[in-house]
């Protein structure tokens, strides 16, 4: 101690430092429930040493810095798992809507209407000339067509609503990207200065987490403190102070669904994860394949029924015409549109070709063969029957949904673990803070004590030299 009065100065600085420590602790406690907040720590450093003859002492304490407890590795891992979790969340919720359309575990559905249609041919075979049975065949054929159309359109409307969510998600991504770019500027300019860099970083990391939930991203920070963010496949989102806004365009080649563009590049197929990845997978891969299964089944029914129908004779003894409205493939090998088009072509029940050509009206040969179509191979080059095709579709939808639902529940656990690990580093513990309060309080008290002692000493000194005080 150079002098009693300089000792007072040391004590004053120490009081300030401990007070600062209390402030930071108080801030931590205040943010115990703030998501994205990383606890902060004050580091103190001893003041410059004062050289004296014979001894050396520091001139008190200085606040060196306030640091956030963050592990960038854990931040990055959490971000990746968030992408995965949001992807599964988006796809499981859309797929559960799909599976409820096909809930054949109840007593209605496409299967029943298909069985009813073909079984009505079998009933007709018992009394082929019966007008009411013929009427029943027509009615059941129409009901099956309606059911196909309805199922297809409901599936399409789920696809449309997922498409709407794609647009919303891209908008959210743009908003987040632009906010992050602004925070990049703020973080870079606050660096090294005595400002709120930590809380800006907390905010930015929170937005990066949200962005990671929407789309699979990878990011890194440069020396200036700027985050550069791209998708994992390299589509740019944020670089320094600018964000690259994405947009959506209706794609006429894929049923007017939205394609995602970065600049002039269609990046739809490169997005793999996050909410957007989940939505695109359901929309473009899952639902599209279900729709085409329905189309294939419908096209198979139309062609098989018409082919068999033509081999029989109707009630007037004429050869059978088309029972179902024939389907023309829009392109070679494509049955798109068949499920919406399938409908009965005849309205006169007498035109049903139930009998054998040349036989009387009581002949049932063709009606039986028509009924048996449901058990015969449906599509060229494929041994699966109509019923097997539909069972496969049901199995696929069930499995896709199960994969998403079970995957989500596993992913939630993984994410919980990782978030716990991150909180273990960055989170606020009230016990820790209680100890800190105690620590700074005690140090503050001790410094007050020092001031009080110095006060006494200077008082004594003054008295000694004849002061009146």
């Amino acid at each position: 101690m150079a002098s009693l009065l300089s000792g007072l100065e040391v004590a004053r600085q120490a009081l300030q430092a401990q007070q600062y420590g209390l402030d930071v602790t108080q801030n931590n406690i205040a943010n115990v429930n703030t998501s994205g907040y990383a606890r902060q720590r004050v580091t103190f450093t001893p003041g410059e040493p004062l050289e004296q003859i014979g001894y050396q002492a520091s001139e008190g304490v200085r606040v060196d810095s306030v640091q956030s407890a963050r592990s960038s590795f854990l931040d990055y891992r959490v971000n990746q798992e968030l992408s995965q979790q949001s992807q599964l969340d988006a796809s499981s919720s859309a797929l559960q809507q799909v599976e409820s359309l096909f809930n054949e575990n109840s007593n209605s559905g496409l299967q029943s209407s298909i069985s009813n249609f073909f079984n009505s041919f079998s009933s007709l075979a018992n009394t082929p000339e019966d007008a009411s049975l013929r009427q029943q065949v027509l009615a059941n054929g129409q009901a099956m067509g309606t059911q196909f159309k309805q199922t297809y359109e409901q599936l399409q409307s789920i696809q449309q609503s997922v498409d709407g969510q794609v647009a919303d998600t891209v908008n959210q991504i743009n908003t987040l990207s632009s906010s992050i770019a602004q925070l990049n500027v703020a973080v870079a300019s606050s660096r090294g200065s005595d400002s709120n860099e930590n809380s800006l970083r907390d905010q930015r990391q929170q937005l990066v987490d949200q962005l990671g939930g929407l789309v699979d991203i990878s990011y890194c920070e440069d020396n200036a403190g700027n985050l550069t963010i791209t998708t994992r496949q390299g589509a740019l989102l944020v670089a320094g102070n600018t964000s690259n806004s994405w947009h959506t365009v209706k794609s006429p080649t894929s049923g007017n669904l939205l394609a995602v563009y970065s600049g002039n590049t269609d990046i739809t197929s490169t997005i793999q994860s996050g909410t957007l990845g989940g939505l695109l997978d359901v929309r473009d891969s899952k639902v599209t394949s279900y729709l085409s299964s329905l189309d294939n089944m419908a096209a198979g029914i139309i062609s098989q029924v018409n082919a068999q129908h033509a081999k029989g004779a109707d009630l007037n003894g004429d050869p059978g015409g088309n029972f179902l409205v024939p389907f023309v493939q829009p392109a070679l090998g494509s049955n798109e549109g068949a499920a919406r088009a399938i409908s009965v072509a005849i309205s006169d029940p007498d035109k049903i070709a139930a009998g054998e050509v040349g036989a009387g009206t009581g002949s049932n040969t063709n009606a039986k063969l028509l009924a048996d179509i449901q058990n015969q191979p449906l599509l060229p080059g494929d041994s699966a029957s109509l019923n097997q095709h539909y069972q496969n579709l049901i199995f696929t939808i069930g499995l896709d949904t199960q994969t998403a639902v079970d995957g989500l529940s596993t992913q939630n656990q993984v994410l919980t673990q990782l978030q716990n690990q991150r909180d273990s580093v960055s989170g606020v513990s009230l016990d820790d803070e209680a100890v800190n309060v105690l620590r700074y309080q005690k140090a503050y008290e001790a410094n007050c004590q020092v001031i009080s002692v110095l006060d006494t000493l200077t008082g004594d000194l003054m008295q000694m030299f004849g002061g009146s005080g």
Partner: protein
């Protein structure tokens, strides 16, 4: 690991969510009695369940086909029985006429009797079931035979409809009338002509044709009898099959109530415990002990 307050809350939330999920599933099972409520509960079982639905609807269809076939076969059978009896009775009358050959009045009486029975044969030949002439082959909308004097001409065709009553199992729905009735008409008309003409040798010749007629009727009867018993046997097989399939359906789709109820109560207990522990979270920390 450093435990922070948020970790405790997050873990509690995750635990409670999992338990709530389990509880909801178990309660859903209890209230619906089904364990296969969504396709994703078990994709394989859902696909099998669909196949079962299919099989059951197929069995129902076979059942209704069997009922229809059985009705038509029974009517056919009883018609053929009556035909047999009539032909036998006509044969007796014919024999009696041969024995009383010299009595012209008696011959006329026999002839009148036989003609009246011939009318019954014709009416049998044109038997209808629900408006369809069952002995007319596929030409079911018009009478199988039209009479002209003592004889009758077949108007139908030779079509025999088969009915599916099981997988790969079929029975004939009808007997072609020309096979059984035409020989009868031929021999009866020959008999009547001989009686009318007082032709004793002719009567004997006509009577000798009757055994062939009866044989044709008998052969048709035994075919119908076979088909009827096929129908009956198939009903037994079908019922057994239906029971098996329904049992399988129940195994894959019905909830085990005891298990589901136990799970509900177990999960409720666990949930209660988790909530109790949760309510202690954050209740105590070091601040409570600092003056």
């Amino acid at each position: 690991m450093r435990i922070t307050d948020s970790i405790g809350y997050r873990n509690m939330l995750a635990g409670v969510e999992t338990l709530n999920d389990t509880l909801e599933k178990a309660s859903e099972q209890v209230s619906s009695g089904k364990k296969l409520l969504h396709l994703h509960d078990s994709p394989a079982d859902s696909a099998e369940n669909l196949q079962i639905k299919n099989q059951l609807s197929q069995i129902d269809q076979y059942q209704s086909n069997s009922d229809a076939a059985s009705f038509s076969l029974q009517v056919t059978d009883s018609s053929l029985n009556s035909l047999y009896n009539l032909v036998t009775s006509i044969y007796s009358q014919g024999s009696a006429a041969a024995n009383n050959f010299n009595d012209a009045n008696a011959r006329a009486t026999y002839a009148a009797d036989i003609r009246s029975q011939l009318g019954q044969v014709l009416s049998l030949a044109n038997t209808q079931v629900s408006g369809r002439y069952i002995f007319a082959g596929s030409k079911v909308t018009a009478p199988a035979f039209t009479a002209a004097g003592d004889t009758a001409t077949y108007q139908g065709d030779n079509e025999v409809n088969t009915i599916d009553i099981g997988d790969g199992l079929q029975v004939n729905q009808n007997v072609v009338g020309s096979g059984v009735f035409s020989p009868a008409f031929t021999s009866i008309s020959a008999l009547l002509t001989a009686i009318d003409n007082g032709d004793q040798a002719g009567i004997q010749t006509a009577l000798s044709q009757f055994s062939g007629t009866l044989a044709a009727v008998n052969s048709a009867r035994s075919q119908v009898g076979n088909d009827l018993s096929s129908v009956q046997n198939s009903a037994t097989t079908r019922q057994a099959e239906q029971t098996d399939i329904q049992q399988r359906q129940s195994t894959i789709s019905d909830a085990d109530m005891a298990v589901a109820l136990t799970q509900v109560s177990q999960t409720q207990t666990a949930l209660q415990a988790a909530l109790t522990v949760g309510s202690l979270l954050g209740k105590q920390n070091l601040f409570d002990y600092l003056g």
